[in-house]
């Protein structure tokens, strides 16, 4: 457990909230097999597509950002997204390392 990055991420969230930005928090809530980052790893995204932190080793971030922005657009509260091992399609978003991760995305509310 390493809370160092979480502090920076929460500070950024607070800062964006003060500037009235819409913010989504992404958290790794479950892992199976060899996942790149541990449970509790976080990334924060705002409506402009700016982000800080990570939920994998760069494997699924682009897809997570896309999902977060559509969460804001669709005015949804929260969602779980599962990523599995990438196989046939090398350009598909997935985990080359052979693990599965479950990511929870949620909008930061007032």
């Amino acid at each position: 457990m390493n809370n160092f990055a979480e502090k920076q991420i929460f500070e950024k969230a607070d800062n964006w909230a003060k500037n009235n930005k819409k913010i989504v928090l992404a958290t790794v809530i479950q892992t199976w097999g060899s996942s790149p980052l541990g449970i509790g790893s976080r990334m924060i995204i705002n409506e402009d597509g700016n982000f800080l932190g990570s939920v994998s080793g760069g494997c699924v971030e682009s897809k997570v950002i896309e999902e977060c922005i559509s969460l804001i657009k669709n005015k949804k509260n929260c969602k779980k997204i599962e990523f599995k091992v990438s196989n046939e399609n090398a350009w598909d978003v997935g985990l080359a390392c052979g693990g599965d991760i479950l990511i929870y995305i949620e909008e930061i509310t007032k």
Binding site: N3, F4, E6, A17, L25, I29, G40, Y104, T109
Partner: protein, 228 residues
């Protein structure tokens, strides 16, 4: 998650409190858990499971539920005895690895604010300095002066208080002599064997920054080995 939870988290971190953030994954509702205090609503039903995850320093979903727990514990405290060149690099590495560093050195010309601008420095002999530091089994000691006058009292204190990591700089010969002094002081062989001496994992480097890297690597290794 509510922005209030994020602000409370930051406040608790700055007050050096230990707590957990609990989230109801079905609706995004969140609360701060502090040991000994009950929670509201659905979270109150899972209080013992939340405590269990918190006490084992883990993050995770409570089995058969939609409750996610993220534990926030204070960084591991590393007391460095000796404001030497290696210490300056240790501080740099520690910054990004979630270790809190305290420097102890009675030699005030070594432990100056200019050399260590953002670090807690105690310009006292270890015995007096330890009176000012709250320690527990999540505390580590790194002695770097290889002067028995300064290092030994710190090592004795750390052995008695069962720090999770104790490392002492010095060659094999220096360490053998150190062990003999500790035996004379009444410590058992088993206790003395918990000291990592010569300090650090073997990387082969000899420069102060390389020695600092080998020490900080050993600290990270022991942290996970001991699940701290």
């Amino acid at each position: 998650m509510k922005i209030k939870t994020i602000q409370e988290t930051l406040k608790n971190k700055s007050l050096k409190k230990e707590f957990a953030v609990v989230t109801n994954l079905s609706n995004g509702d969140s609360e701060i858990f502090v040991p000994g205090i009950n929670l509201k609503g659905v979270f109150s039903e899972y209080i013992s499971k939340i405590e269990e995850i918190f006490n084992s320093n883990r993050n995770g979903i409570i089995e058969n539920s939609e409750i996610f727990v993220q534990t926030f514990k204070n960084p591991i405290k590393v007391i460095i005895v000796g404001a030497v060149h290696i210490s300056t690099f240790l501080i740099e590495f520690a910054k990004n690895l979630n270790f809190e560093i305290i420097i102890v050195d009675p030699r005030s010309f070594f432990a100056t604010r200019e050399r260590f601008p953002h670090t807690k420095i105690i310009n006292k002999w270890p015995n007096e300095a330890f009176d000012e530091i709250e320690t527990n089994t999540r505390t580590a000691l790194v002695t770097l002066t290889h002067d028995p006058k300064i290092d030994d009292p710190a090592l004795k204190y750390a052995l008695k208080k069962k720090f999770f990591y104790i490392g002492a700089l010095g060659s094999k010969k220096t360490h053998e002599k150190r062990c003999l002094r500790l035996i004379e002081a009444g410590f058992t062989k088993k206790e003395i064997e918990t000291i990592n001496g010569p300090i650090g994992i073997k990387l082969g480097g000899k420069s102060p920054s390389e020695i600092a890297l080998s020490i900080i690597s050993q600290l990270v290794f022991e942290k996970y080995k001991n699940k701290i």
